[in-house]
């Protein structure tokens, strides 16, 4: 039996899934945020071990989410995959590099005969922790600020400059989102550590660091949001699909989609609430608020750039080469098939939750690590 579901509904459905994966990924990048603090947060080896092991048990979840995000984007919006990865080559390759070195760093850092010494693997973790969120932030910012490419009549990409993506690094708004993500990941990480590690000293140091990191996050976030909401955006004509510039485009989108606006505001409030209760009331559960707030906010931002006749991967060089969820998507058949597959996601989420609940019963302490056979 084939359900009568419209093509544009499925394109929207898949954009929602992509947005969901992106928002989970940004939240899970607390692992990276923590790695970027590896040399500054812990003041002794025991605390460093606790911190690294707390983060290390989650690295694969973040990594898997990133891989699935890539796979889902490929399946649902292959033209984005082809255009962005093949065009902004250097940015994506740099992101990949930072993730290869992470995958082995946890497993190898404490193992005897690891050739390069623990310090090297810790530096790998630091590089991935800082560069990963930053570059992903810069790449996602181009969803709003645009890139320089053209597509020919066969939909083959040609990048209009020889920098192949590195040019995104000289745009202030792109940098702002990159830094927003770095400081958000660090903020989430500190809140996560406060919640999961039972060590007063480490908690005190985390709260201390939280103030400066959350303030930095706020500064860059507000700058980016103001710059985006009050500038021009890429709008697609609902009938012809032609792309043009529209003043206050993203602000209009939020106003035209009140649900998204509510999600966005709720998200931002939750992020601030989590930070606030941790700093001012010493609450240990701030991550629950800031973490879910992060998910809501990122989800709303992706909806803003994908829906309401907007080009989600615009070309500032050739407006009509810009990608929308309608011209970049897979066929009706593939989107529908993949929709059936996506119905398994709640089941996946349920077993992830159950498995982690089973092994996360106790907080991480020095004692807990000693009793554990597998220590990073």
């Amino acid at each position: 039996m084939t359900l009568m579901i419209s093509y544009s509904f499925l394109q929207g459905y898949w954009w929602v899934i992509i947005s969901l994966l992106a928002s989970l990924l940004v939240f899970l990048m607390f692992v990276q945020g923590g790695q970027s603090l590896i040399f500054s947060l812990p003041d002794n080896d025991a605390r460093k071990a606790m911190m690294v092991n707390t983060l290390g048990r989650k690295w694969e979840l973040t990594f898997t989410t990133l891989v699935t995000f890539g796979g889902a984007f490929f399946a649902a919006f292959p033209l984005f995959y082809a255009t962005s990865f093949g065009g902004a080559y250097w940015v994506w390759v740099a992101i990949l590099f930072s993730f290869i070195i992470q995958a082995v760093a946890y497993e190898y850092r404490s193992k005897p005969a690891n050739l390069f010494g623990r310090k090297t693997f810790d530096i790998f973790l630091f590089i991935n922790g800082s560069l990963g969120p930053f570059l992903i932030g810069v790449a996602v910012a181009t969803f709003f600020t645009g890139s320089q490419f053209t597509l020919n009549e066969m939909n083959q990409v040609k990048w209009a400059n020889s920098w192949h993506g590195l040019e995104a690094l000289i745009n202030g708004r792109n940098l702002a989102l990159g830094l927003t993500l770095v400081f958000l990941a660090r903020t989430n990480s500190l809140l996560y550590i406060i919640n999961s590690v039972d060590d007063e000293g480490l908690s005190a140091r985390s709260i201390n660091k939280l103030i400066i990191n959350s303030l930095s996050f706020l500064v860059f976030f507000v700058f980016f949001m103001a710059a985006i909401l009050f500038s021009e955006g890429y709008t697609a004509h609902p009938d012809t699909g032609n792309i043009s510039m529209e003043k206050f485009k993203y602000l209009h989108n939020l106003i035209q989609m009140p649900v998204v606006l509510i999600i966005f505001l709720a998200g931002v409030t939750a992020v601030l609430w989590g930070i606030g209760v941790t700093i001012f009331r010493g609450c240990k559960k701030g991550i629950w608020f800031t973490g879910s707030g992060t998910i809501l906010t990122v989800f709303a931002l992706f909806c803003t750039v994908g829906f309401s006749n907007t080009a989600f991967y615009p070309s500032s060089f050739d407006l009509n080469s810009s990608l929308t969820i309608h011209n970049a998507s897979s066929s009706l058949f593939t989107l529908r098939t993949m929709m059936y597959v996506s119905f398994i996601i709640p089941f996946v989420a349920a077993y992830i939750w159950y498995a982690w609940k089973s092994i996360n019963r106790n907080k991480i302490t020095g004692e807990e690590l000693k009793g554990e056979g597998h220590v990073y």
Partner: protein, 518 residues
Amino acid sequence: MIENVDPALIDWSRAQFALTAIYHWIFVPLTLGLSFIVAIMETIYVRTGNEEWKRITRFWMTLFGINFAIGIATGIILEFEFGTNWSNYSWFVGDIFGAPLAIEGILAFFLESTFIAVMFFGWNKVGKKFHLASSWLVAIGSNLSALWILVANAWMQNPVGMVFNPDTARNEMVNFWAVLFNPVAVDKFLHTVSSGYLLASLFVLGISSWFLLKKREEWLAKRSILIASVFGLFSSLMVAFTGDTSARTLSELQPVKFAAFEALNEGKQDAGLVAFGVLKNSEDNIGSRKLNEFVFRIEIPGFLSVMSGGDRNVFVPGIKDLINGNEERQILSVTEKMDRGRYAKKVLTDYKLAKSQNNKEQAEALMNIFGNRDFIDNYFRYFGYGFLRSPEDAIPNIPVAFYTFHLMVMLGFLFIAVFVVSLFLVLKGTLTKYRWFLWISVAMIPLAYIASESGWILAEMGRQPWIIQDLMPVSAAVSQISPGSVMTTFILFSVLFTALLAAEISIMTRQIKTGLKH
């Protein structure tokens, strides 16, 4: 359409993908097989309650963990390289190819990464049965991920279940089940995963034999050898069987690859299978390409015909028949296929032109051609040939195909023999007396990797110039980046992968030497 691609760009892009794939495949087969071996060992522990079995399980599990991390690291690069280096490919077939990759992530990777955490961190926190179930789920998850990526690869070897849409200039999926149950996918999955089980069995056998040679960890070693021999013998027979069925499918769907791995220039009935041979350049050529001939060979009479069609009378076409054509056998020449491919390309470009000029009548007429059965079956199926410059471009590197195939097959039979002997000796209880055999078992570890990599080199280099058989050559698939950029990233990847591999081997060796002491 993009023409005149710099050959250096194609070469570096291929080199980079090959580099990543070869490194990735160092780690994956061990993950595929060792996950099952560990799960089997843990099952014995849970059933017997014997703590020694728990120690054995944990020993192999540690090695599994060291290997697993680096497999993931190289895997993510492969996934993204489809986009970064093969962007035209990603669009041309992303509608079909993307789906298995996404399903792999949703169905398999989360299963693997979630339960691997229970496997490593759950010993003291969850019940024995839950832990055991987790170990099995890791094994199932890793094998499921192999399934989906192999479905994707099989589709490149034998594209099915799609139609071409001239409006979007891409192939679109119309039958998911045809993609999933592609005959190449079924063969490839079974052959590949069983080769992983085989490699892991040799790994366990080799290391355990080393312990016996050093007179250490005898309890662990003997039991591990028993499990490895049984699992290995079963797997190696399965590898041989699925190899045979793969060859049959191949002879039908990728006859040039089939002829290349036997270096068969002239087609014949009652064709013999070369058991062993050495090649040299021959005087014979097709266009600018020199063909090869044998310096010497040992041949099993009639066996190639049997392999290809189950009968000695079956005609096996040679390279010349497939490139120059053979009217008697109704084989089209590549020149004819190139003409048909060019015609298909022209219909597409004319259609695009008519659309851009808003010439609706002509656009509609051309669009109708794409729905015409004769055009689909006899012209568009040769679309990729339209990109070739000369017929000899359709010939893969014959010596590479020949030697990798024969190396793989010879080693495969050697492995069967090794498992038979080790199983016999371990059951008889006399294994430790045969030190020479223990040394042979240790030596099997590198050979297992060589056989396994040979298989992939054959599969991928043997199908050149195609990235998608007959539909798209690598030259039309590559991303438009400067060859210098790809060369730079190739060098960076090589240095990084090599450094990480060195660390992995060093850590692994130390862990093995430490044995059960840790």
